[in-house]
Subunit: 388 residues, 4 copies
């Protein structure tokens, strides 16, 4: 008998985690981007790689696009391509940080012409969403300033709101806008949406179709992220997660790699707040595999989320509540830690096999020969990366 | 001709900064509280000391009380005592962190009896406000937990809201509730109001008489505090400041001592957002003079705020706006820094003398003999501190 | 067959973790110290409580003293008292932060008279060591300044060295001095021994009997502590650990509570560098049980260290080395994580039972009635705390 | 009569700050590198731009090179080119982070062949030094790992030492090796030289010609950098500064821009410790002008250092010492702050004019037409950047 009871397995079976197309391309730091054999050269190849992750895990049925990195002539064709490979096209991510015009801002720029260009880009992204059937437009606002005095913080915030309203107005009935916040980078003095409070205040003023995106790597040192998860779920404004992990800044490491216990606490609050397998709360990865294999890195990532979800589902809530109510600090902590320390991996492997999957997706993928095949096939062309 | 033009002097003349009564008592760290000769032994003596700060600076016409530390039999008498000394009684600060009942929370406690006790304490504080004529009830929520699993984060947030609503309902027409947030301490895993977003979400749900209190020492490392000032002013929810400074945690050092340029940036945003000499935005100190003289420390603090306000008022806004609009980063920064680097101290000293004050309030107070007098007079009794 | 092979069990059997006497007294924050029934009122009762931890875990055979908190008339008697209870007296901790004289420093003070007083206190501590048979004198330097300009950083560092030399000269042949470093608190601008580099430079200049003490809670946010463990072991200067955990500052929470994976990484480097069960590297706790039961809190703590040591011993070093050498990032990380995620608790419980211990020391202690007994017996007197 | 007395002016006259050639090329973040008209396309143009900074400030008589970014056929010619423009060639910076071979380390790599390649690169850098007459080889070790378990921390540290010894052995009698440390980036889990302690331990083992390089942007949040300056000067191992400023990570902003008071404190400790105008302590800039003009940005930077040095020289040391000795915290702080708040800019402008320089170098350069000329002339070719 598995330590994972049927109710838990039912939840795990429903779980899905969207993959970012750009995770399969090259990424790096300002100092160096390392290339690797087999890196995709276009959106079609990225989706093919993403489909491998889903094939071995049954956890990743959709792929997020990034415009313009994933511009293609026909999104109908791209959608069919994805569907043929067993995945769908998901969230559309806009990009207003790589044109020369955007050096001093996009949706917040002093110049209305630049703002309008950035707004138009978002409208074009919604056109793509219409074609792909995507629900969510994700806006990461890479805007800010590097020096005190450089920018009018207040003016920018007001202009941001105006710009967002114009984008919001274009959303279809079943479409949403999710606004990401980030502590810093690429701007180093101020960032226009630096914290959840700012994102919340902005989307609350837009309406019900605007939500906050919480990227687990975008907080100040020491921030209690699960508290923010709790608060946004309570306020009805947690639209999506960008999962990754970090030791210092926005390191974009594999989710769960830096602080597995933090991931556990986050997923516990997701469950506590009704966010698990809730269509309003999208789970996505947003990571950079600078030094490790990309497809395996993505497999590792979705497995980390699955394993930690299983642990969080194991928390004995009745015992926890009883201990909390009685002020028994050590007992409450013990109930919590007992779930974290339980090794769910053997039970998950068994369960995977009952579903026709390999017990160990990492090994199964590695043995499949896919990596060798793409390394051999994908010769010539330009490897995908973050280039505009 | 002064570098401070009449318009600037008019603003400076209107400036007032409330002093906390507890700054005149002893304070320290968990390791040691050092006493000093002359430390007040009751609220009457604290107010007498606070009045000295105002006497030499004309900047500090009111004194905040802390209940129960400043409990007296007659607040009428205390008010008259204050008025005789040229100051008034200001913000009332509640205390729900020093009773044994509050070990696991007060307004958020699992047990309704404890919550009601804490609510009643706040109602009693409003009674004091009625007697003193104070406008603001300041709530610093020292509640949280030390261990993951110890507390139900969501339940506590909901209970907090219920408790605050009951307190809010008791406010008079001209009274306000200001809710302080703090990153951590005395709780070390989670704090129930850890950031401005949480305080904002809570007070927004209460109504127009509830506002956010921004303590400059209560943020995560690296937080851009002036951005939060901007945002709260924009949202109409910046109710008050607790000024102090910090290098690491909530060090409660003299405002401006740790990072004078940060104070400049904060005051610039206050001015930019219409918060200077705006009755809706109260300026207060909240500091601990652990190793330095207390009265002189408070004089130094209000002078620091005054001097930095003068510098911030010197920013050439037209030149700044022009540089910002043209994307001239270095020019905009130069306009900003020029004001910061201007030495306003001689002009302020001259101006003080035209108002019948000493040019150098620090020296004037030191020469007054007051410190020697209280050291000699205040013998016996128990020096005030943070004891419950 | 246990997942813990005989070689691992042999290591675990040798493991010992010293308990701090002060963990059994009351502690708190600058805002409040909560008392609890049964708290010891003198060193004798503290040692009795510490002996309970060892009784149920066989992990904590010695107790560190803090002078003057643990001053007694006869250390011979105290030693016999300890031995009767199955424990010994360990490290002696000095205290130069609670006398009024030390407001501006002790070993670093400008005034030679104060320095000499602080040096004499350390010599007296060595007298205690002679009487108790303790090997280590631990010096935590709580000295520093709160305001830029307040102190002459360089002069203090030079005076510190002079003072330490005088203390070092008094050490017996088999005695050692371990110098703790701490990022900040109780001083808020500068601390005289803020980082491992400073402690290392100071003790390296003293000689072979001077070592560094690494307190796991005394680092800047984001610091890679296991790297420092590696480096100090490499340099032959890691003298001891003060174990605890933290989310923000020096929270002094139960070791492993805040970031279990960090504790795993630290213990892995201890093993890698030959520091496990190496008499030169003392394992101690230094924690504050502000809101949880103290004896249970100490039991939980030593079990956390034991469990995590078991996990760290499970790392397949050959497989790890092979993956590291081949640049297979994900494989190396997987070997590492596999050990961390292995649930060693059932095997440890079984092993405990083979040694005549309860499988679950927490439950066994709770069922013993000791807590109820001391709560009933220890009435009257003053509960121990951090008072001078 | 100037507020800057002759003794101060004599010190200021001797001051020199080396410029990094790469500051004149393009730089950016991992998201985008913005180009600007007139950006140099080769080392010759970089040096020409650097010479402009010296022309208007008389503060920057030498230029640091970066190999291979500044590879030329003849360093004799490059040196003559520099000398013709009134500057000399300074520190040579190695680069072991941009070859594909260095993905998993260079001087620390598991593979001796890669280590030898990296060592050989440094020997080639010393060849360049021989040709240019440069004294210092600066090694920034960009090596580390991204995932726990990925690397053998201890083995890498040992190999680093071996590699450094081989490089050290090749130094000429008048040459030095300076080893930079950095908290994180480009590696995100561990960095092989992350702190001053590690750099110090490594260079101390090499010998007298090896020193530590302190980059002001390479520390954990909250680190007291002036303390490290003090300590390294005390230990005789502060070889050089890389000046810049930061709010969050290694932002590489203009020195003094983020926290002017910190720069003041650093320069005060430099003076206190005998490091000003001491040939053993090289002053350099290491910055990235991502969004601002590069030549003007460098002029602003050296002026910031000069202005803050002037302020630090103004500290009344006798008064400071007297206040420190008497434990008068506020008086000591006041002496310190008085110097910081003194506006030295008018006196410096006057003094510049007496030396045949423009009072305002920023304006003078802007009016010179040089920027327009290079924008017009430097058409075609590839703008310099950080490309390998």
């Amino acid at each position: 008998m598995s330590i994972l009871n049927p109710a838990i397995l039912t939840e795990l079976e429903k779980q899905s985690i969207e993959l970012p197309s750009w995770a399969f391309g090259n990424s790096g730091t300002r100092f160096k981007v390392f290339g690797t054999p087999g890196t995709p050269r276009d959106p079609w190849e990225k989706i093919a790689d993403a489909a491998q992750v889903n094939k071995y895990t049954a956890l990743a049925p959709s792929v997020a696009l990034h415009i313009p990195w994933d511009l293609v002539d026909s999104y109908d064709d791209l959608r069919k391509h994805a569907e043929d490979l067993g995945v769908s096209l998901g969230t559309v991510n806009s990009n207003t940080f790589q044109d020369d015009d955007y050096k001093f801002g996009a949706l917040t720029h002093e110049d209305a012409a630049v703002r309008n260009k950035a707004i138009d880009h978002h409208l074009a992204c919604i056109d793509v969403m219409d074609a792909t059937g995507s629900r969510d437009l994700k806006i990461w606002l890479a805007e800010g300033s590097n020096y005190p005095g450089q920018a009018d913080l207040r003016g920018r915030q007001d202009r941001l709101n105006e710009s967002l309203q114009k984008i919001y107005a274009r959303l279809g009935d079943d479409q949403r806008l999710v606004l990401e916040y980030k502590f810093f980078e690429p701007a180093f003095y101020h960032t226009d949406v630096p914290d959840w409070g700012t994102s919340y205040a902005q989307v609350a003023s837009l309406g019900d179709k605007a939500m906050v995106c919480l990227d687990t790597g975008h907080h100040a040192p020491g921030t209690n992220i699960e508290f923010i998860v709790m608060q946004l779920l309570r306020l009805g404004k947690l639209g999506s997660f960008d999962f990754n992990s970090r030791f210092y800044a926005d390191d974009d490491l594999i989710v769960g790699a830096a602080d597995p216990f933090q991931l556990f606490r986050i997923l516990f609050e997701v469950i506590r707040g009704g966010g698990l397998n809730n269509p309003d709360v999208a789970f996505m990865l947003d990571q950079c595999h600078n030094v490790e294999d990309k497809i395996l890195g993505q497999i590792r990532s979705v497995l980390n989320v699955q394993e930690m979800t299983a642990r969080a589902l194991l928390v004995d809530k009745d015992a926890l509540t009883a201990a909390q109510k009685s002020g028994d600090v050590l007992a409450a902590n013990a109930v919590f830690m007992d779930a974290f320390y339980t090794d769910v991996r053997p039970a998950l492997a068994e369960w995977r096999e009952t579903r026709g999957l390999a017990g160990d997706p990492m090994t199964a993928y590695a043995a499949s020969g896919y990596q060798q095949k793409i390394a051999a096939d994908r010769v010539g062309g330009v490897q995908s990366g973050w280039g505009a």
